[in-house]
């Protein structure tokens, strides 16, 4: 397990609370502001998830799609997002783990080996690839590479998946597992607690890996409900919405800060 994540979950356990993982698209709305946003997020979140935008994403709601397009317009590419994370991590004082969230194409085009190495040298702690199929040659190579260097490979499971699939996924998954709370797109619906319970049970039956729940978590009350079941919760569209609406507002980071502060109140077990 990646050390920073290990510490994050241990500390949370100690404090009898769950962890908040915040997501933002890297370089949205631009490099400089994104840097400020990520630093602000690192102050409030247990971990920070940074998206490498992909213009042909198949799982993002229009909120995230818009963020992707803003970032691409601002010149975002894989290299620059690595640089951004590295710079942010050197600026922050804590050990908040950083993840990259993206699709397989940017990784594949960068070269899987090089990408894994670059994670290490950029102080990236984990990787989420939304469209990585357990059985693809790329997934196999990637999980092997990440394991070598102790970068967490966080995999997704969804309400439509059966136990066989979950078992297979668990084999590759490291540090924690990402549970999608409903059948749909990021931020497009309300969190479905029934789903979450059902999948969590199947996971618990097969593993002790911490569970993070994402999709549809926007309010303190969402966080609070989810944290009763899971170890962490991922908030994405809620943050990206603020960025989208306040891209030129100098209070942007403050707004994100207070949004996250409020969410944190829901973290207690």
């Amino acid at each position: 397990m990646n050390k920073n994540f290990q510490e994050m979950f241990a500390k949370a356990k100690q404090e009898k609370r769950g962890s908040l993982i915040g997501f933002a698209t890297g370089m949205d709305p631009n490099y400089k502001t994104s840097k400020k946003i990520l630093i602000e997020m690192s102050k409030h979140c247990g971990a920070v998830e940074v998206g490498i935008p992909f213009n042909t994403s198949t799982s993002d709601s229009s909120t995230i799609m818009d963020a992707n397009m803003r970032a691409i317009k601002a010149g975002a590419n894989t290299e620059k997002i690595f640089k951004l994370i590295k710079e942010v991590k050197s600026k922050i004082k804590n050990n908040v783990p950083f993840l990259i969230m993206t699709y397989m194409n940017p990784v594949y085009r960068y070269s899987i080996k090089k990408f894994a190495k670059k994670c290490k040298t950029s102080n990236v702690d984990g990787l989420i690839i939304v469209d990585s199929n357990n059985n693809s040659p790329e997934d196999k190579e990637l999980s092997k590479e990440l394991k070598k260097i102790n970068v967490a490979y966080v995999k997704l499971v969804a309400p439509t998946n059966n136990e066989a699939f979950i078992k297979e996924t668990l084999k590759k998954c490291s540090s924690w597992i990402y549970v999608v709370s409903y059948a749909g797109l990021t931020g497009s619906k309300q969190v479905n607690l029934g789903n979450v319970k059902k999948i969590s049970k199947l996971i618990r039956k097969n593993s002790k890996i911490p569970i993070g729940v994402g999709f549809g978590i926007r309010t303190k009350s969402d966080v609070s409900k989810v944290i009763k079941i899971a170890d962490a919760t991922i908030v994405g569209s809620g943050i990206v919405d603020i960025v989208g609406k306040n891209a030129k507002n100098h209070n942007l980071t403050k707004k994100i800060g207070s949004y996250l502060k409020n969410l944190k109140k829901g973290l207690n077990k």
Binding site: M65, T78, R109, D131, N133, V157, N161, A183
Partner: protein
Amino acid sequence: MKIPPFKEINPPKNGYWINPKTKETYGGQYISPLLIPNLQKVEKCFEKAIKDKKFMRELEEKLLTFIGVNTPLLRSKELEEIAGGQKKVGKIYLKRTDLHHDSSHKPVNSFSSCYMAKHIFKAKKIICETGASMHSRSVAAACAMLEMDCEVHIGAVDAEKVSLNKDISELYGAKIVVVHESTKSLLPAMASALRSWQSNPDAMYVVGSVAGPSPYPRMVRTWASVIGRIAKQQFKQITGKVPSTLFCVCGGGSNLMSMAYPLLKDKTEIFAVESAGEGIPTGRHGATILGGSKMGILLGFKSKVVMKSAQIAESLTEASGLDFAAVGPEVAYLHDIRRIKFRSTTDMEAKKTFLMCCEKLGIVPAIEACYVINAALKEIKKRKNPRENHLIHLCGSGESNVNRMIKFKRENE
């Protein structure tokens, strides 16, 4: 009429075609885990369907009587004349899938997929994307007849360009989702359709080309190959041989595979024609293979993709149906193992070919088909082989292009 039976020539392994020399893999299933069970179900249903004799008999009956799949081969002395005369270049035949119900090659796959969705997958709703709206039009027709809901994703640019086909989809009862993202064309429409499927896993997704996550590329070319199986039989009846050359346009590759697949093991030289847009060197084109594509992963599959760093590049062409920055994985594989050769035609050449076909052949071709006719004439002229019999896939009728093309004609006369 009996449709010649399907024989699997080129089966993918675990969803991948593998280049024996380079070991490169093509295809796969790159998609959110949410959709994996759906894809497994589609695959199971497909395997079941093609083995189900009653289902296949009923499907083929519908393909014959509803889609009218037994379209003629037309010997075109007019094209032979333009290419230099039969005595110099041989004979030219056109496969007339423009005469299908809904006026393109698309309905053969669309209807088959929907028929399977209805009777085996037991879906109540179909989701699809569309470029030239030829696919959506035929999916919507199938859904109407089969009493299923239909949701169509179309790029905003295309919705304008091919409004007739879009309106027909709507008349059939389809719900039209206009996609304003990225290039506002076929690619984001497909992404949008896949996203919608994630939100409606009970629906079945029906792709319009030999693209998408496994098993779609294989399933689509299997359904569509009915066209090529009939064409091969007809061609042999008329000429006694398989064609010397086959020419098809290539967007995603469905019309190409529909004709090429049953000829893969034959001696036929196969040409796929891409849209060179304003010319490949300008960068403003729709040519995947000839436009310097690399292996990439998008919309659930791995294949040749035109990219700008890791982003899918804009594809730019007059033809909505060719506005796709990738080719299907089996097409990329067949290119890489050198079974299929590629050629291209610019938008301007295609538009002139459109007017030429109207004025000299008495045929209004889909603008997509004009790319192939133009490139075929160039190639046939060059070959100068009077013993050859050429086959060109006239893969659609151009009613939907008339608005734009009559303006072009009037501006250029």
